[in-house]
Amino acid sequence: MNISARHIEKATILDVSGNIDMSNSPEVRKALLREIREKGVTRVVMNLSAVAYIDSSGVASLVEGLKASRDLGLRFVLYGLNDAAREVLKISRLLKLFEVYDDEAQAIAS
C-alpha cells in the first residue's frame, strides 16, 4: 500500500494505492488525520481509484477521517471506488454517509 498527498489550492488529495487491510490501515489513518488536523485545508479528497481491496479496518479509518473532518468543519470526499470498496461500505451501511464521486474533477468541483 502506498499513500501520498497532493495539494490543490485549499484541498488535499490523498492518493492511495494497493490493498488497505489490518496490516496497513493504521498508516492510512495516520496520514488522513494528519492532513485533516495539521494542514489547514478546507477539503480532503481521498483518491481510491488504485485501491483494489479495503477491509473493515480501512473503513474504520475512513469513518475516523469523516468524523474528524466534521469536527473541524472540513469537507471529506471520496472518489474512484471500485466494486469491492462500494460493497464493503454498502454492507456496513456507510455508503450514503460519505460524499462519493466518480473522478477527481467531480470531487474537486463538488
Binding site: 487491510d21 496490516s23 481491496y53 477491509d55 473503513v59 479509518s61 460493497e87 456496513s92
Partner: protein, 175 residues
Amino acid sequence: MTPIAAKQPRVTKKSSKMSRAFLLKLELRSHPTLLCVIRGALQPLMEMLGFSDESTRAIIRAVDEAVANIMKHSYHGRLDQPIEVYCNRLQRRANGETELGVEILLFDCGPAVDTTKLPARSLDEVRPGGLGLHIIRGSMDSVQYKRAGRLNRLRLVKFAVSSKGGCGSSEENPS
C-alpha cells in the same frame, strides 16, 4: 507447522441432500501481512468453482475479516500463532435443482469465544470499529461458530446459486 485441527475435515462426505469435497488447506501464522496471501489464494479458487465476481468478492471479504478477527481478538495481536483454513466444495439438492457452493472452515487455538461479547455494534452508529462481524454475516449464506475441543471453529458457507439473491435460505446438512 503441526496441524492444529484435532479432527481433520473428511476428504469427501455425502448425505442424501449434500456432498462435500476437500479442495484446499492453508496453514499460516497470525501475522496481518499474510491476509493478502489468503485473499490471493481464494480468488482463483472461487473463480474456478464458478462463483460470480460479486460472490467471489463476498467470500474473500468474509474470510479476510474472519482471519483478521482471529488475529485481533483470539490471539490479541500475537504474530506467531497458528491458523488453519480449509476449503471444501459443497453440492446440494434444493427444489429439484443442484446448487454448488463452498464451505470454509477456520481453526485457531485461542481461548473460547464468548459469542455474547463479540464486538459487533449497531450499524446505526457512526463510529469506527465493530464492522467485521456485520461484513462476514452480510457476505455469506451461513456463519456458524463452534468450540471444538481446544479449538475455535468458524464455518462459513456460500452457494453460487441461491434463493434470495445471493443468500441461500434452504438448509444444507451441517457436518
